[in-house]
């Protein structure tokens, strides 16, 4: 039996058209909803029936692609993972992710985020490379537990929208990039941490973090980026103080 959408909720959506608008403004829509409808479905209803120009990113509808991150009532959330019934009676404010430039309506510029992910060399660099014929690189469950949660990042950027230090300093490497870095640095099969340490150093590296912790609070995948960032404060400090010893080692 299909539930009838006899309840309505007001969505106040931040609109911005780079061609016609000097700056963004809110527009209200009254959306009929059923108890199983997400904010994303509310936006889709608006686009289908009221205003086809409403622009937002989405893909999987099941909290795994990381496309539909937006500020819902000032909190970074996945629109597909937030039910309208939990926000009743409304109104619900829907805005693009904080700290990122707005391209149009709810779509933000992701270039800076993508560059940061690229900068941490996000792939496995085997400690001891061997041909396929010699079999797989084995790992114990304990070795996997050391990095497993960091591998769950879906690049949704909610943590960057939550992080006031990224808002203050867009050069700050930020939470997700450090979680992804730790996913590889913490992997027993990986030997590439020397390549990644430059992204960790300095004010624009982990020291830009003041342990606000909002990144871990908003993460929809329990990645705990705050843990990754702060764990690396120890790594960068050790690398700084032991750099003379290390040089001797390599000679």
């Amino acid at each position: 039996m299909t539930e009838r959408a006899d309840k309505t909720i007001e969505l106040r959506v931040l609109r911005y058209n780079p061609v016609t608008d000097e700056k963004p403004h809110h527009q209200s829509f009254t959306v009929p909803y059923t108890s199983d409808m997400s904010v994303l479905q509310g936006l889709q209803w608006i686009k289908d029936t009221i205003d086809g120009s409403l622009t937002y990113r989405w893909s999987c509808r099941m909290a795994i692609c990381g496309s539909c991150g937006m500020m819902i009532n000032a909190e970074p959330k996945l629109a597909c993972h937030t039910l309208l019934r939990d926000l009743a009676p409304g109104p619900v404010t829907v805005e693009p992710l904080n700290h990122f430039p707005i391209e149009r309506d709810l779509v933000v510029t992701v270039d800076d985020f993508v560059k940061k992910i690229e900068s941490v060399t996000p792939w496995l660099i085997p400690k001891h490379p061997k041909p396929v014929s010699e079999g797989p690189y084995n790992q114990t469950p304990a070795q996997m537990a050391a990095y497993e949660n960091f591998s769950a990042c879906i690049n949704c950027m909610l943590c960057y929208a939550a992080c006031p230090q990224y808002g203050e300093n867009p050069k700050f490497i930020g939470p997700a990039a450090m979680a992804i870095l730790q996913r590889y640095d913490g992997d027993s099969r990986d030997g590439g941490s020397a390549l990644r340490i430059d992204a960790v150093h300095g004010e624009d590296g982990v020291w830009g973090c003041t342990a606000v912790g909002a990144c871990s609070d908003v993460c929809p995948k329990a990645v705990d980026p705050m843990h990754a960032v702060n764990q690396n404060k120890m790594n960068t400090a050790l690398d700084y103080f032991l750099r003379f010893l290390k040089k001797r080692d390599t000679k």
Binding site: Y16, A145, Q231
Partner: protein
């Protein structure tokens, strides 16, 4: 193709005073109480160096209502600092894996807080009763 003109929203200067960052701001400010209490102890040390008169004056100030209010406020802030310090402890230490599974962060916080409470209580008991 439509024109690109990305709009950058300004960061509010008082973000630290707003929800949801107030908790963080109070936690960090409670750390300042350590510096204030260190200054109180240091002033006592300076008074001790200056001689008996200065030492007695400092002891007198300690017993004044203003000092008692200050110490009460410092104690509350310090207790809050202890609580929140151990809350973020598991996020600032390397991941702890025991028997193949990560130790829950709540367990680490609980153990740390318990050790702090036991040590502090033991110290207070020692000072109050002076067994030797």
């Amino acid at each position: 193709m439509s024109e690109r003109r990305p709009y950058v929203r300004p960061m509010p200067r008082d973000w630290w005073a707003r929800w949801p960052f107030r908790h963080y701001t109070v936690r960090e400010l409670s750390g300042v109480t350590i510096a204030i209490y260190a200054a109180v102890l240091l002033s006592g040390l300076v008074a001790l160096l200056q001689g008996p008169a200065a030492w007695d004056a400092w002891r007198g100030w300690l017993a004044s209502p203003a000092s008692l209010v200050l110490h009460g406020a410092l104690l509350i802030a310090m207790l809050w600092h202890v609580r929140t310090w151990f809350q973020i402890l598991p996020k600032t230490m390397p991941k702890l894996i025991l028997g193949g599974t990560p130790v829950p962060q709540r367990t680490i916080t609980l153990i740390g807080t318990s050790v702090a409470v036991i040590c502090s209580s033991a110290l207070v008991a020692f000072v109050l009763w002076r067994p030797f």
